[in-house]
């Protein structure tokens, strides 16, 4: 599959039709998705129709936008009027959204064609895609392994060459970690950069729509289209600092990367550590400065995150009550409203989601609220101040592995939620602090006779995506 820029240029120049690009994507999905299960739905007919409309408009001499004919996949917790929006949950198995998410509307207005909805951990809660009610997605590099999560379907779809780019959502690493495990680029923009209207809420102070793509330039091209203020999400903002690709291809000279001590955490797999160390040497050799930095509270990020995120989730997911939409349990005649709520929720939510709702309810409950929740919010401010200090000292990007290890085997971490939560060690900080971060493929780990991708993460200043993607292109260039 060609990249975003290549397809859009060829379609706009009428060297290739939008239909041919969309058909190529649908053929690639058809050929491999039986094995990978990256897609929960494929919009075959609808996508071809949309492509035909674009081709007709192009033939009439219209400019159809910067993503002309680019096939894009959308994570199934982002609302589309076409098809269903299930969040990979029994709760929303038959849910049809009456509106499109703003990010989807903006993609279509820019000429992109949505080809289907991708698999995820239920309600975006997980790091492996194993917690989907509709079966796990498999990693294209080794189908016995997870693609990461929760945007595992989107990452696998890009890695397998089914689409050049996909939307994901990132609450604690859900775009970056699967990007790392599948060997693609995964960008979590600054909190507020992209409208979350139509993204099913998980933890509202952390959620952000992000992009998975084959290259840094392709991720920038998609961000360019979906970014900006939307009256329907009052946390979204427009800043006069677009042109996200403006520094891509810059040299390493003048760049300062900061490496915190946590990058060498004992939980890091030796192969991940090797790939990371080699990449650091390469950017140094290319002319960048690499300095040791302090992020004193980085080790406490996961603990703070697993209070804040479940607390917000327990509140957000209270809306699923079996009354207005979604699954409704059959409680028979004479059942009470309370039974309707309780049975609908227990039947609709999977184990991981129920556990997080209970964890969130517990940390917010009377007697625990201050000790857990308010304390976590204080630590959260410390974490943000750590980043502020590092960037104020002249560091352009904080460099760590994206996650502690390459893709693990399906089932390997089942039944041990804490082990799975520690996957988020390097990624939660950017969500807690609201800053942008990107995972870039850095090399391959040799594990049990397989070659598995390893990503590095760059964290940048709030609303500093242009500089961040410029730095990411330096990493991309030396690998």
């Amino acid at each position: 599959m060609s990249g975003v820029g290549e397809i859009a240029r060829a379609v706009a120049a009428k060297e290739a039709s939008a239909e041919s690009g969309v058909r190529a994507a649908l053929d690639a999905i058809g050929a491999r998705d039986g094995e990978l299960n990256a897609f929960l739905q494929v919009f075959d007919e609808h996508a071809i129709e949309q492509a035909n409309i674009l081709d007709a408009r192009l033939a009439a001499g219209e400019d159809v936008g910067p993503l002309a004919g680019v096939p894009i996949a959308v994570k199934d917790n982002i609302c589309t009027r076409e098809g269903r929006t299930t969040c990979a949950s029994r709760m929303l198995e038959g849910y049809r959204s009456p509106y499109d998410a703003t990010a989807v509307t903006r993609l279509e207005r820019a000429g992109a064609v949505i080809v289907g909805k991708t698999n995820l951990d239920e309600f975006a809660m997980g790091s492996s895609c194993e917690h989907s009610a509709f079966g796990p997605t498999r990693n294209p590099h080794d189908t016995g392994r997870v693609p990461g999560g929760s945007s595992g379907g989107s990452a696998a779809a890009v890695a397998a060459g089914m689409v050049p780019a996909a939307l994901g959502s990132d609450t604690g690493g859900s775009v970056r970690q699967p990007a790392s495990l599948c060997g693609v680029v995964g960008l979590k923009p600054t909190y507020g950069r992209v409208s979350r209207y139509g993204l099913v809420a998980f933890a509202s102070s952390l959620d952000q729509i992000g992009v998975l793509a084959g290259t840094v330039a392709d991720a920038a091209a998609v961000l360019e289209v979906i970014a900006g203020r939307d009256e329907r999400d009052l946390t979204s903002v427009t800043r006069d600092d677009a042109d996200f690709a403006g520094e891509i291809g810059r040299g390493a000279a003048g760049l300062t990367f900061g490496v915190p001590a946590i990058a060498r955490h004992p939980s890091v797999h030796p192969e991940t550590a090797r790939v990371f160390a080699e990449m650091v040497e390469k950017v140094r050799a290319a002319g960048a400065r690499v300095v040791e930095i302090e992020l004193p509270h980085a080790e406490h990020g996961v603990a703070a995150y697993y209070i804040v995120a479940p607390a917000e989730a327990s509140s957000n997911l209270a809306r699923f009550d079996g009354v207005r939409y979604g699954r409704r349990a059959d409680i028979g005649a004479g059942g009470t409203l309370d039974e309707l709520y309780t049975r609908s929720r227990s039947e609709g939510f999977g184990h991981e989601v129920q556990r997080r709702i209970m964890l969130g309810t517990h940390v917010l409950s009377s007697g625990y609220h201050d000790a857990y929740y308010v304390n976590a919010l204080r630590v959260r401010r410390r974490i943000k101040e750590d980043f502020d200090g590092v960037f104020a000292s002249g560091v352009d990007a904080v460099l760590t592995p994206t996650c502690p290890s390459p893709a693990f085997r399906i089932g390997e971490k089942a039944g041990d939620p804490l082990a799975l939560y520690l996957e988020d060690l390097f990624t939660v900080g950017a969500n807690l602090a609201g800053v942008p971060a990107v995972s870039v493929p850095a090399g391959m780990a040799h594990v049990e006779g397989r070659e598995l991708p390893v990503g590095v993460q760059l964290v940048g200043r709030a609303f500093g995506e242009r500089a961040l993607l410029g730095a990411a292109s330096v990493v991309e260039g030396v690998v």
């Binding site: 049809r96 080790e299 009470t336 204080r378 939620p417 609201g434």
Partner: protein, 102 residues
């Protein structure tokens, strides 16, 4: 606090969250939640005296938009999403008298 988590605590939390949890599930959740809560205990090591809690990173506060009518979703579209309805109403079990408790 994590050490003290009992299956009665789990049932209480499940009840607050409107989740039905069987005896066997309650024990499984107790073990899993205790492990996570045990890990979370490490936050107590951090000196946060004098630190203001930060619930949200955005510096902006409430914004008002002009109070102008705009497009809305049709009533029948929204009603069509309800799993049970009768006429113009979403249908729920009896909430008054002995049908309540929610």
């Amino acid at each position: 606090m994590a050490d003290e988590l009992t299956s009665a605590d789990v049932r209480k939390v499940a009840r607050l969250a409107r989740l039905a949890v069987s005896e066997a599930d309650a024990e499984r959740y107790r073990v899993e939640l205790a492990a996570v809560l045990g890990y979370i205990e490490r936050l107590r090591e951090v000196d946060v005296s004098g630190v203001e809690p930060m619930a949200h990173v955005a510096g902006e506060t409430n914004r008002l938009r002009a109070d102008e009518p705009g497009p809305t979703l049709a009533n029948e579209v929204l009603m069509g999403m309800a799993p049970a309805s009768e006429g113009a109403f979403v249908k729920v079990p009896k909430v008054l008298g002995d049908g309540g408790g929610a």
